[in-house]
Symmetry: none
């Protein structure tokens, strides 16, 4: 006990990070993200989240009004983070497909969380209110819109052939999801490099023989 005082001076900050001051809000958000990701919206129970978060059931309700609000929080976090990652990874000096590869590599570092976002965005039926539905779709829109902007610039620079930017961005996102998330449901997971490689293979050159 006493000796801990000696080195604790420098460690105070760190020790806070270690454990003693448990951040229940974070615990809950992490647990909810995990549960929503694994079981979806309906099949996720507040009891379950509480158990995973290792908190009392009522504790969740001190931070979030109800299940839907908790869900919204998870979604919003995801959108923000995805935007941030994408923005940080883009380098205007690089070629389009190179930028795309870099962004994807970065995104894949957070693959698990994204998997949640992607899965959830497909479960819109489960959430009753149009507002919630709207909230979910906005995530996809945000990402697609961002990629579409990059596509437009790439067309202008002549890096890719003329095409509808919005749909091209949509197709890219879906293909990315397919390779990074859905493929491994039934096959061996792909390395980050492989995902980027395949995406480029299919989208850049096409299947027509040379």
């Amino acid at each position: 006990m006493t000796e801990s005082v000696f080195w604790s001076i420098g460690q105070t900050c760190q020790s806070k990070g270690v454990l003693p001051i448990i951040d229940r809000r974070k615990q809950i958000i992490d647990a909810a993200a995990k549960s929503f990701s694994m079981f979806g919206y309906k099949a996720t129970t507040m009891d379950g989240v509480a158990k995973i978060a290792n908190v009392g059931k009522g504790t969740i309700y001190t931070f979030f009004t109800n299940k839907e609000e908790l869900f919204q929080e998870i979604m919003n976090r995801m959108i923000s983070e995805m935007k941030r990652i994408a923005e940080e990874a883009i380098d205007p000096g690089r070629l389009f497909f190179d930028n795309l590869s870099v962004v994807l590599e970065h995104l894949l570092d957070f693959q698990e969380e994204h998997e949640l976002a992607l899965k959830l965005s497909q479960e819109m039926r489960e959430i009753g209110t149009p507002m919630a539905l709207e909230g979910l779709q906005q995530m996809e829109r945000a990402v697609v819109g961002y990629i579409a902007g990059q596509v437009t610039q790439a067309i202008k620079k002549g890096e890719i052939k003329p095409c509808e930017p919005e749909m091209t961005a949509f197709i890219m996102l879906k293909m990315y999801m397919a390779l990074a998330v859905e493929w491994k449901k039934t096959h061996q997971p792909l390395e980050k490099r492989q995902v980027a490689g395949y995406l480029r293979f299919y989208m850049e050159q096409g299947l027509a023989p040379v």
Copy 2:
């Protein structure tokens, strides 16, 4: 009890003539397909299915042990039909991408039912048992496997450049879903021709400038 048999003969026939004693099993399957398609697995209630099918709730349980088995039946039917449609549409004399377009056009004629299949295949989280999950995935495997076979042949004939048939088939299916089903969640739906056209645009030629 006994006397009722005497006059019931005439009534039975008559009632059969009037109300062809519609095949209750089919009624239930159709109703379930519609409900699962519209609301998803969890949000579909046995009460609702019974009401749509115009049968008693208990009747469902004379044909299917439980909700999950009913769901499985729907999935199996869908796989079979998709295979049949694909086989009927293929003409070995045609070019690969032409065959692909034809198959897709046919599949799109049943778009609504497929939408169900596609949606449901993404709702696997909702179903607890690994068995059910397995059952769902087998549908995708069946379709992907079929397309992969076509891809292999197309490579041999030199119609498309060498590539991994399995993954190429997987990518094709996902892109098809994206264009035919998911796109319209947030945008104007595409005509059958448009879906085929875009699929070819992105997969055949790629985005690299000429």
Copy 3:
């Protein structure tokens, strides 16, 4: 099975009345009336009602949408019955106070149920929606309005001295409640005759010395 047919002809109706065909709706209404009466609205639980009624919890919801609707049913029944009793008991040929006594005697035969109504009418705070509140007050209004009509006629006939009929009716109802229901909470219950007698004593002659 077969022999039952012989005697069942005459007994069918009766046997239904005896027991075998348990009327669950009535069971539930009776149980709810008892529970609401004893514990009030909030403190009455659906679990409790189910237990008293000896039915499953879910059964209640096959007859009533929710707790509030169940409550409304009880209230409506009470209003109807009170009106019916009052109307049956009035004889235009009798003197006012004699009619009052008769009506009260009849009402007292259903004392227990009325106790419920009276108690509940005082628990309006517990029920959230203004509609429910309105529904409760309408019961008192109905009874007071009815008595007020009788009072007006009695004044015209010169049987009682001029007074405001509405308030007089209100006072009479409250005094009746006080004697028949509330008195016994803290004292020996009164006989029907006694209630009628005291009501007449206080309301007819007053306390001024002769």
Copy 4:
């Protein structure tokens, strides 16, 4: 323990000067009285009381073991105050009905608090334990007993005709409640004078025509 007395003298005064160290107990009691009065027993939450009292929720539990005990305190205070008011208002030299009017006028000055008492005394069902029930009834007993004493003396003096004092007092209290509290639930509220006037009208002379 002892030393705290020494310095506490100076501190107490000082701290009282700064933030009069408002008497937290009183704050809580006032808040609880208000909430119980407005919402009833069940619908009053400890959170709500704490908020109204402007203290921490836990602070309530340093003064009262639980919700029921807090409730009891409110009731006891009310009984005492009602007794005090009644005793102060009685003048042995006045006639009975005049005394009654004066007492009522005084009581009506505290109408709001009394309303609480009266309402609560009717919500006994809400409180589970027989002890609490007992505690509530004692309030009514106290008031009725007090009036009964006055009635007895009035009979002796020949101011009112012979009658059972206990029941007469009971009827008077109920009629007072009816006029002062319950009438305004469904009608225009009465002035203090009117309440006294009507009470005298009905109880003194009765409805028999002259």
